[in-house]
Subunit: 362 residues, 3 copies
């Protein structure tokens, strides 16, 4: 397990990263966002098709996002190079002919369920089937909180660590998501998946945490509840969680969710640079679907809680930056995060070998 | 051609840099300005003579610019060391005798036509005859815009690049200096000079650009114009330009300027550090000389345009800093800037040899 | 003598550093302060006993100062690790047993005369008898100015240098502590102590400096005074000074202080990082002890003067950072500071040897 994750400069290039909410890229707009150390330009042609390409003119390096959207093309507004969605430069002012190497790199990009997914490796190898299912973000059976975004000034692994160990709820979020300190004493079940981990937490017959207590009361549920947080934490950094609350003993753990209220949290951590990351989140629910005020209230609770996370994680990152020799002391709480870091290390090792083979080809 | 000019740490030391406007150094004042990585103190004695010396007391390194002007001397206000214009310390409080090595380095400095020219190499080798002619800045036959200054947070070469390729006018300055995109399609004529390049651009029989359209109209010139931008771009980074506008077909290209309005732009780019530079500019003209409102209007137009340059160049520098591996793709537009960079490289190579010979002397 | 002290990364570990005023650590409070590059947590148990330990949970590096004070323990509020004053972790949520290596490093810490003294080396070797006497800070025979603190963004040696050469008073503080330039011409007597230097300055029969002129007048002392600044400057960076003013010729230099007003300045410079330091100060006096308005007036004078010091020292540090090759030119004024730097160098050399022997032990 690496001590200070911020020293890690390599990014997995055979997976999809959440790069934006689809509504962030409006027709005619040029969105620049740095993903895995690459400054990427997102834009749409007149038909609405989405493109992602290096946000840097091949000529002298000016950002295309400072340029001009011209129908199905984007013009660099330094010296007028004009690009189409394939990244090819199709016009250089004063030149009859555009040399073939006048182009910028493009990326495979897919819009699915309101998220924009970016593949930073070879676009020819991009496989849309690898995008995890987050259909709750658009499914009419589920009601969503407003689309969430937060910026972190820390390496993404510290956010992964946070999401992989829910024992922190008792201490970081006592008045929001958390509740009693008993919750921290519960050990999660951790199972290995091909591309991540499956984490299972059932917390039976206890008072509900603050953020849902009022919601449950409004639904006539008083008294103790059974609570679950069962989630996949997938490469490169996606949390897809089935969570909920049911009257204690009503059988939710055995599959009877008739009396339950349920969520399908979708959260994505995407590296920006080695020292910063993007955090996209939404909390679809299967109750009070026609009540926007419930969406708003939940959103405010979640954001308040995520601000609590950001405060402690940012403080932690500051400590780690100050002492390059610090070695963390893993304990039982860290089972999932140790496994997830090992999984990333394996994938990056395989990637290095794959690149070495590719670079060795005649 | 170097990819990222900001990695360049060496400065030509056998040429003159514009360091200030003369009026910036008033009698009794201490001006500190960093030129080519050296923090330099500029000041005058009681007779008005100008001196330039290291802005750092030889004693313990405190800046002399935080000190006190005392007639023909400057006193460090940390422990009282007193310096004259030759850089010698002439008094140390509590010491009967000042050791000969108590001195700071001085620089050759010349005031000419309102600019202060600094020679950062050996002062004994400074040759005032090498200072280019900018007499229009004081010639009563020409009227000047107010003295211009702008600070750039980029390596000076990116500003050189900008000034060496006027095709950017169509894209960076469409509503100020630029005009039609046709102007960008015009190829400049580039000739080599001993100490720089000669660039010639004639743009015939076209509507005038916004910044002069009103001026021309006031003079009864309507309709198309012939426009020229003919300039020397000289080491270390000086643009001295003959530009102007004449009624289309009135013969300006053949030398008949009787119906023309003319400018003699003087612009100097001076390195501050590897990541920043100074930009001094003025636009003398031979028309409406008695109208200060024309000076003001031109000045505002020029500054607005130069802010447009600074925005795109600063964005470009940010892109280049993020990707050390970026290799620009030169095209026909870059003829002048490629030649100018080559010229600097030759001069720096010669300088290295000269220094090596000097350092090898017994 | 090192040229740029900011390159120095090592701290003496066999001495006491002033880390705080005692009142800064109130019961129930967690104070984090970086001392010699170590982020240290200061807190008290219910009995008021003071503890100092690494402000970084051994688990994953979160700062304990973001945690919760719980009686005689401190809880990390990321995942709930609980520590006692010995630095041992006494509880990990969800774990029956705490592994012995779950602990943070503690430091020897002593409260004496309102200052908190920290020993950054091996706590077993901490020797409270080495703490210098500053009893004037609590002695009822002396009245104190309010407790002073200032933060410097420079290496501590530049502040030592300042305090070791009072000739700067004439130039940095002409209108506060200083007075005439004659004062700068006075050479200090410098004697070597085991753990520092003894500096003696008597300035006879001169007008008083601005900051005490009004005080003296109120006491009916008009005319010239004899002034003295006699101080120990002790490792790691402590100034303990006997200073005062007496009517000229009243015999203060020979020991007769009946007509004098006296101060016992206590000032401590403590490294924060290689580029910053803490500055604690107080000016006990033996006159007007019952007049808080005199305390306030003196405090304002001293702070105004120390701001003058900070301005010039910070400007000096900026100059030194810009030129790593600068070599200062020592003169007679620097006798004390050259000796003090040599003393530190000797102590650090001995420390390196001591560590090497320790690390070589089987």
């Amino acid at each position: 397990m690496a001590t200070n994750p911020e020293a890690q400069p390599m990014y997995m290039d055979d997976c999809w990263y959440v790069a934006a909410w689809t509504h962030e890229i409006e027709p005619g707009q040029l969105l620049s966002r740095t993903i895995c150390g690459r400054r990427v330009l997102f834009w749409r042609d007149r038909a609405g098709r989405l493109f992602a390409m290096d946000d840097r003119c091949c000529h002298r390096g000016a950002p295309l996002s400072c340029g001009r959207h011209e129908g199905d093309t984007v013009r660099c507004m330094y010296h007028g190079f004009l690009y189409d969605g394939s990244g090819r430069c199709v016009e250089i002012p004063g030149h009859d002919r555009v040399p073939p190497k006048a182009q910028v790199r493009t990326y495979a990009v897919v819009e699915q369920h309101r998220w924009v997914w970016l593949w930073i490796g070879d676009a020819a190898e991009a496989e849309p089937a690898l995008i995890p299912d987050t259909h709750w973000l658009t499914d009419p059976e589920w009601a969503c909180t407003p689309p969430g975004y937060m910026h972190y000034e820390v390496n993404c692994q510290l956010v992964h660590d946070n999401l992989l160990d829910f024992s922190h709820l008792s201490y970081v979020h006592p008045n929001t998501l958390g509740g009693s300190e008993e919750y921290a004493q519960l050990r999660s079940k951790v199972d290995r998946l091909d591309n991540g981990l499956r984490i299972t937490r059932w917390f039976m017959d206890r008072p509900p945490p603050p953020f849902v207590a009022a919601l449950l009361e409004a639904k006539g549920m008083s008294g103790n509840v059974d609570r679950w947080n069962n989630y996949n934490f997938l490469l490169p950094g996606l949390l897809i969680m089935d969570s909920g609350f049911a009257p204690a003993g009503s059988g939710a753990e055995r599959g009877d969710r008739r009396a339950a209220i349920e969520f399908r949290h979708c959260q994505a951590v995407t590296p920006e640079t080695a020292d910063s990351c993007h955090y996209f989140f939404c909390q679809p629910r299967n109750f009070d679907r026609d009540k926007p005020e419930v969406s708003e209230r939940l959103y405010r609770s979640v954001v308040a809680a995520f601000e609590e996370d950001r405060a402690i994680i940012t403080a932690q990152a500051r400590c780690l930056r100050e002492d390059a020799d610090f070695v963390p002391m893993p304990c039982g709480l860290d089972l999932a995060l140790v496994q997830f870091r090992a999984l990333i290390d394996q994938r990056l090792a395989a990637q290095r070998e794959r690149h070495a083979r590719r670079d060795a080809r005649p």
